[in-house]
């Protein structure tokens, strides 16, 4: 009974929109007409077979997700290991590395867009001053470079988040086990491999799941930096769903893209979490 108000709000703002998007994916609706025409699987057929952008967005989302579960967590882990030592200025350093996380992604996008300006941007100036002007790429305008340029900005912003989770995880590593391993003659690498890393397993699971989810729904930083361009080459599934719905105003196709994205997310996250939970239970 006590849960009822929360459940009602959750149903209204989370469950019902989810159901509505699912229904919309089988309909043709432009946001203006009162009637939504039932079109069966036509929206899915269109995005899978006739849409010249869907598969580009799909490929980019896959690349982005793979990079996102590798680079920010690995860098975050190294930063956490470093900042877990007794360093001078450890607290300010932790704050500095975490700072980008609290900046709105759209502000990060604006900032990095200026740094990437091909004429006056920071990177262009640095390379020009170093005599490497001929190596300056069109950071956000070259199809082969743009996605990775955005990803660098994303890493800058998100690495602090992984770092904080790993720092929290490192506090749970039993100090006596490390001391025991050291007495047994284990070097730093062995201690990390056989004591620290196994203790961090639950944290790693959380970081990877959160990284996967946030990367699959990557939107704001791409929207702010390139809007999916040039020539839709940095489109992501989440952004393409938005573009179809809120810029082209084809809510049916936008919803179909959203449902595909949700399905992919569930297909990755649910088995991984269940496997990881089983592994933890076995270990215990």
């Amino acid at each position: 009974m006590l849960l009822a108000p929360a459940l009602a709000i959750y149903t209204l703002f989370a469950i019902w929109p989810l159901i509505d998007v699912f229904i919309l994916s089988f309909q043709d609706w432009n946001g203006i007409n009162e009637n939504r025409e039932w079109v069966g699987l036509r929206n899915y057929y269109h995005i899978l077979y006739n849409d010249p952008v869907f598969w580009v967005a799909f490929r980019n989302t896959v690349i982005w997700t793979i990079m996102s579960v590798i680079f920010p967590p690995v860098l975050g882990l190294f930063l956490a290991l470093g900042l877990n030592q007794n360093l001078i200025g450890r607290a300010p350093l932790r704050a500095i590395y975490y700072l980008p996380v609290i900046i709105a992604p759209i502000a990060v996008a604006t900032m990095w867009r200026w740094m990437y300006d091909p004429f006056f941007g920071l990177f262009t100036q640095l390379l020009t001053n170093a005599g490497l002007a001929q190596l300056i790429p069109d950071w956000l305008g070259d199809k082969d470079v743009a996605l990775y340029s955005i990803f660098v900005a994303y890493v800058w912003q998100s690495v602090g988040f992984s770092m904080v989770l790993f720092l929290a995880g490192l506090q749970s590593v039993d100090r006596s086990l490390i001391d025991a391993a050291r007495i047994d003659g284990a070097n730093r690498r062995k201690i990390f491999e056989h004591v620290t890393l196994p203790a961090l397993r639950p944290t790693i699971t959380i970081v990877l799941v959160l990284s996967t989810i946030s990367s699959l729904k990557a939107f704001d930083i791409v929207y702010g930096m390139t809007g999916g361009g040039p020539a839709q080459s940095t489109q992501m599934l989440a952004l393409w769903a938005f573009t179809q719905s809120m810029e082209i105003f084809n809510y049916g196709r936008g919803s179909a893209v959203s449902v595909v994205l949700l399905t992919i997310t569930l297909a990755i996250v649910v088995p991984y979490m269940s496997w990881s939970q089983r592994r933890e239970e076995d270990a215990q």
Partner: protein
């Protein structure tokens, strides 16, 4: 005594609040404008209407272009939204809302206020184009031409303004020989580079075929003039654009143009106040893109009264004031060289390039609209993509034409 004073103050405050609460609100949604003069004109409209109509509270909400489009679409699915909304008048934009019944038929207001007699013919062309009756009222009619840097033209030995497309290409080659890129465009906003494709299509296809292509009545893949247009477009983007351009927007391109980094820009008459506010106008000249058809490249912006508004009379009164002789004369040049009010003309103190614009408008033999106004939104998105792919060297002209045709046939 103190209690009485407090009580009296409370009652007065309550009454004052009551008076404020009963003020009639009029909400207008429009896009952000870049020039200070344009923003000032809108602010003045708000103040003046409130002054003329005591008790009316006008709220003008300005948003970025995409945000404005999205907000309007979201509002159209709900019971809230503006009383008046500003929108581009083409089929793919304002026309869609008219066809969907989101615009009030203003025929009775046209008659009672005499708007038909007051407003210019070309600007009114869209009011009856998409549904029965009269929808929206033009507040701005814009043309787009080539602005050029006189000094850079002189440096390249170009004498006189290009009168034919071949002249323009020869000028581009002469500029290149001096190491000067002919054009600067910003690729991130899509519609900036699109302008060149639009005028090239008009050049290679002529008026009739161009219109048929934009109406999707001709096959882009097999129509030779479409292929020729893509081939020409590639020539320009490969050889005569200030690069890189795909990673910058139109404002950055404008900054580079003011910095003498390229000779020409394809911009609208709204560009004149921008030049006036940022540079020395005597440095620049302008000429209509030599398409050979004589049609002016441009579009109209309208203010529509929403069918969801219960204040249509008040909204119409505002539109009447906004397009009145007095208001238009007071803000002449703010939204472009030409007022939509035929009784209002630029004076001798008009900006030099605005005076040239009057000749361009006078000489125009019809108009053709920007691609993103002619196409439905999904085709516009594909048109952008194809042009950008071509401009990036990722797509050959025939493949670009094929891509357009394929998209149109399967949409």
């Amino acid at each position: 005594m103190k209690l009485k004073t407090t009580l009296c103050s409370s009652i007065c405050a309550f009454l004052a609040t009551g008076v404020t609460a009963s003020a009639e609100g009029l909400t207008i949604w429009t896009i952000n404008y870049t020039s200070d003069k344009q923003v000032s004109a809108l602010t003045a409209a708000e103040a003046e209407f409130e002054k003329l109509n005591p008790g009316v509270d006008v709220e003008i909400v300005m948003r970025g272009t995409d945000e404005h489009k999205t907000a309007l679409r979201v509002a159209s699915g709900s019971d809230t939204g503006p009383d008046i909304y500003a929108y581009w008048a083409g089929l793919g934009l304002g026309g869609e809302y008219v066809q969907a019944g989101m615009s009030t038929d203003l025929s009775s207001y046209y008659e009672s206020y005499g708007w038909g007699d007051r407003l210019t013919g070309p600007s009114l062309a869209f009011s009856e184009a998409f549904a029965e009756g009269k929808h929206g009222i033009p507040f701005r009619f814009s043309g787009e031409v080539v602005y050029y840097n006189k000094g850079l033209f002189e440096k390249a030995g170009i004498e006189g303004e290009p009168e034919t497309y071949e002249d323009l290409k020869a000028a581009a080659v002469a500029l290149k020989e001096q190491g000067i890129p002919a054009f600067t465009f910003g690729g991130t906003v899509n519609w900036h580079v699109m302008r060149l494709m639009d005028v090239i299509l008009e050049t290679t296809c002529g008026a009739e075929k161009h219109d048929a292509l934009m109406a999707m009545e001709l096959d882009w893949a097999t129509e030779p003039c479409a292929l020729e247009a893509f081939t020409e477009m590639k020539w320009w983007t490969d050889e005569h654009f200030l690069k890189p351009f795909m990673g910058i927007d139109n404002r950055q391109a404008t900054t580079l143009w003011f910095g003498d980094r390229a000779a020409m820009m394809l911009e609208g008459d709204w560009h004149v106040p921008t030049i006036d506010e940022n540079s020395d106008m005597s440095k620049y000249g302008m000429f209509a893109f030599p398409t050979g058809t004589g049609r002016l490249y441009g579009f109209a912006e309208y203010m529509y009264i929403s069918t969801k508004s219960d204040k249509a009379d008040l909204a119409a009164k505002f539109l009447d004031m906004f397009t009145s002789d007095e208001f238009q004369a007071a803000h002449i040049g703010a939204f472009g060289a030409l007022s939509v009010n035929k009784n209002v003309k630029q004076g001798d103190d008009a900006l030099e390039l605005h005076k040239e614009w009057l000749d361009v408008f006078a000489a125009a033999d019809g108009t053709f609209v920007n691609g993103d106004q002619a196409f439905p939104l999904d085709v516009t998105t594909e048109y952008f993509r194809v042009i950008n792919e071509l401009a990036s060297g990722e797509l050959e002209p025939q493949a670009a034409a094929d891509a357009m045709a394929a998209f149109i046939s399967t949409r």
